[in-house]
């Protein structure tokens, strides 16, 4: 075995913590590798040196400061609803996003932006759109009124027409 094959097991071996198989592999390698034998010895020294760093004691009043911090914690409401505060903000944001999306989808289509006006769209057209259509056709309606009330026309023999058919305004004349 090469050094790289056993190096991961050297620390466990140096501390006497290697599993049986791992220990067997390391020992087989150490029997033939003086460098790794020396390295394991030095790892043991390092471990001993680390053990020389003494433990410290928490300073006086440590527990009191922890208890003080805990006492300053906001009390949770019924069923711990305070814990849900961040989630509540998230839910509110999501709800606002959904509402905005629904509102945008429900907005009426704007004909001026090249949208084809369908009968359905006409039916839901706003009063201002209806007023515009009336003003737009006002000239045609006035011409129709003049032509139908002209005395000279009343002298003419009316052509036979189906009973339900109303006379069409003469758009060519009206546009003159």
């Amino acid at each position: 075995m090469k050094c790289e094959d056993v190096e991961k097991g050297l620390i466990a071996y140096a501390h006497g913590l290697a599993a049986v198989g791992e220990r067997r592999d390391v020992e087989a390698h150490l029997a033939t590798c003086a460098a790794c034998r020396a390295r394991v010895g030095e790892f043991r020294v390092v471990s001993t040196l680390l053990g020389e760093v003494p433990a410290i004691e928490p300073s006086f009043g440590f527990d009191a400061r922890v208890r003080q911090k805990i006492a300053a914690e906001p009390q949770r409401g019924w069923l711990g609803l305070a814990w849900f505060a961040p989630q509540a903000r998230l839910v509110l944001s999501a709800a606002m996003l959904v509402a905005l999306t629904v509102w945008l989808v429900k907005l009426p289509a704007n004909p001026s932006h090249g949208t084809v006006t369908t009968p359905t769209a006409m039916a839901v057209a706003s009063p201002s759109d209806q007023d515009f259509d009336a003003v737009k056709d006002l000239g045609v309606l006035e011409n129709y009124d003049v032509v139908t009330n002209m005395d000279a026309l009343s002298q003419l023999v009316p052509a036979k027409a189906p009973e339900n058919q109303k006379p069409e305004p003469n758009r060519t004349e009206s546009n003159d």
Binding site: A14, G41, E42, S47, T48, E52, V53, A55, V66, W83
Partner: protein, 206 residues
């Protein structure tokens, strides 16, 4: 019969704050020591340890014993320590490893020669400081692995769980850390290697 840590935490969850006091008494020293070896001064270590206890208390309602209590608590502590070290890294950039840390005297740090050993306590303090700085010179995660392994005496499985890595990755991490320490502490290692090798030879007959 003594209650386990998990049982104590479940009691805290049920509203028994005296069980939290018990956990505080039991783990304040291990936590402060672990954090003291991870960061550069005791005051920061204690602040972080207080934060760990606070987070444990805050999480009591959601606590489920899916892992060992110590694994869970030390994972919180490790993450806080790693964040603290990373946040303060820029402050250390210009600080020489030879500069004294907080609370020390300002005597120059050097390995004591035998003829200078007039004050054993002074020598011991210097030696400990050299070792402590070698630990602090390790990359944060390697440092955590060494401290949990050497001082908290946790097994590989638990350390790997705390550091959220595989056991193989942990072993590689420990090997690299010990290699660095072997170089950093070379003067002390060479001083001590003889007697230790002899002791090792006595323990393990070849």
């Amino acid at each position: 019969m003594a209650r386990t840590d998990v049982q104590l935490m479940l009691d805290v969850k049920a509203g028994d704050d005296s069980s939290f006091d018990f956990l505080l008494q039991k783990y304040r020293s291990p936590l402060v020591n672990f954090l003291n070896r991870m960061v550069r001064d005791q005051a920061t270590a204690e602040d972080l340890a207080q934060e760990v206890f606070l987070r444990v208390y805050r999480a009591r309602k959601q606590y489920t014993p899916s892992a060992k209590f110590t694994t869970w608590m030390f994972r919180i502590a490790t993450n806080l320590a790693l964040n603290s070290v990373r946040d303060n890294r820029h402050e250390r950039m210009g600080v020489s490893l030879d500069a004294p840390t907080d609370g020390e005297d300002s005597a120059p740090l050097e390995l004591p020669a035998r003829e200078k050993r007039v004050d054993e306590r002074m020598v011991e303090r210097h030696r400990v400081e050299v070792i402590r700085r070698a630990i602090l010179s390790l990359p944060e995660k390697q440092r955590a692995a060494v401290v949990l392994h050497k001082y908290e005496e946790m097994d590989y499985d638990e350390i790997a769980s705390i550091l959220e890595c595989s056991e193989g990755a942990l072993k590689s991490m420990l090997f690299r850390a010990y290699e660095t320490l072997r170089v950093e502490l070379a003067p002390l290692v060479s001083q001590s290697a003889g007697p230790v090798r002899q002791r090792a030879g006595e323990r393990r007959p070849s």
